[in-house]
């Protein structure tokens, strides 16, 4: 999962709280910054934005113009959490810190730019990073989750025999079809890789199984270009997990996704359309 330390601007320009607002304005104009972290004795004491300086007398000390209750995030925070944090708190400049020690800065526009890269341009679905984020978030909230890993069958053959453009049209169509049936309140769909899709869901095991069947039926019943028959193999993991290691959500998510992907491979190998995979026991269910 991408975290903000990978995209933040390191060693940002800072300002002392005991210089004038006029001086701060000159620095902001010179560097074309919309906000400056205010640092005293190596620790963050505030942030001064262009909005703050517009409202106050240039003779004032920065300490008398800055926002004092500055919000910071740790460098390990995910891109998704940071975006949610910025939108919830309506802030334009996010300071990255470790116990009040400034490490970097991210602007809202930079974050949105990075966020845009997480959307697959072909299907309009989020990329796999979204799946990791949502799964970790649900687990952190104490919600049990399941991961469906959907691997389209023989897609390489379709690409080779019908061409990649046809392949792309099919992938787009699959994404549209999946979007129609998932419940946006509990199912989080992404394009995991080339011809692989994945869903993390908070549904109960019974409903997860039902969703898997619906997805497979969608593929077999739909009209595909050039009369192609499309099938997929699905691996499901996590529904049977009773134990969660607190604070280790990311590792748990990785394990679940891995188990689900192995499940889809097993389903493909055994011609079992859906395979349920638990953490301890593996139950194969042929439909």
């Amino acid at each position: 999962m991408i975290n903000i330390s990978e995209i933040m601007e390191n060693n940002p320009v800072t300002i002392s709280p005991y210089v004038s607002v006029k001086w701060a304005c000159e620095i902001m104009e010179k560097h074309r910054f919309g906000g400056l972290p205010v640092v005293n004795d190596g620790l963050i004491v505030g942030i001064l934005t262009s909005r703050d300086v517009r409202r106050c007398h240039p003779n004032r000390l920065v300490a008398d113009a800055m926002i004092k209750n500055v919000l910071t995030l740790s460098p390990e925070t995910s891109l998704w959490e940071a975006r949610e944090f910025i939108e919830t708190n309506c802030i334009e400049h996010l300071l990255i810190a470790n116990e009040s020690k400034l490490l970097g800065i991210i602007t809202k526009s930079l974050l949105n730019l990075e966020f845009g890269k997480q959307v697959d341009t072909l299907t309009g679905l989020y990329r796999s990073d979204y799946l990791y984020y949502m799964a970790a978030r649900l687990l952190k909230e104490g919600i049990e989750i399941a991961v469906l890993f959907i691997d389209l069958d023989d897609f390489g053959v379709i690409d080779k025999e019908r061409g990649h453009v046809t392949g792309d049209i099919i992938l787009k169509q699959v994404a549209e079809a999946f979007k129609e049936v998932v419940d946006d309140n509990k199912d989080y769909l992404c394009r995991y890789a080339g011809d692989e899709f994945a869903i993390v869901t908070s549904s109960c095991l019974k409903d997860v199984r039902k969703l898997g069947v619906i997805l497979l039926d969608l593929l077999t019943k739909q009209q595909w270009p050039n009369g192609i028959n499309l099938n997929a193999s699905i691996g499901i993991a996590g529904g049977r997990r009773g134990q969660l290691r607190p604070g280790d959500e990311r590792r748990t998510v990785s394990e679940l996704i891995n188990l689900a992907s192995l499940g889809s491979a097993r389903a493909k190998k055994n011609n079992a359309r859906i395979v349920f995979v638990g953490q301890v026991e593996v139950i194969e269910d042929e439909i």
């Binding site: 709280p17 409202r55 106050c56 004032r60």
Partner: protein
Amino acid sequence: MSLDLPDNKKKESLRTAEINLKLSEFEFPPMQDVLLIGRRAPIGSESARKMSDALSPDQYEIIPLEHQFFEAVIVRKSLLTIIPREKLLPIVLEEGAKISPENLVLKVHVSVAVNVNKVVDLD
């Protein structure tokens, strides 16, 4: 052709400066009893705190405010030993606000006289 005027026609250009001095004692401390810091004043509460700490250490108390016009009030501590802040501040703020002083730092001189009138039983 020369444009120079004859000497008797030349006007003298003379620039002078008049210097006046007015000496008086520096009012100390300059804050007097109460200082009301306007939200858009040229100095803010942090500047005022630094000023009072430097000029009159431990003699003033800075009280941050959630007020329409003022961001803080600086009060001489000795004044608060005579009259509680809950009694003093509403009066000062009410009168200060009438000047619409968002851009100003208002200096307030406060004079407090405590009147006591007791009746004793002579029997």
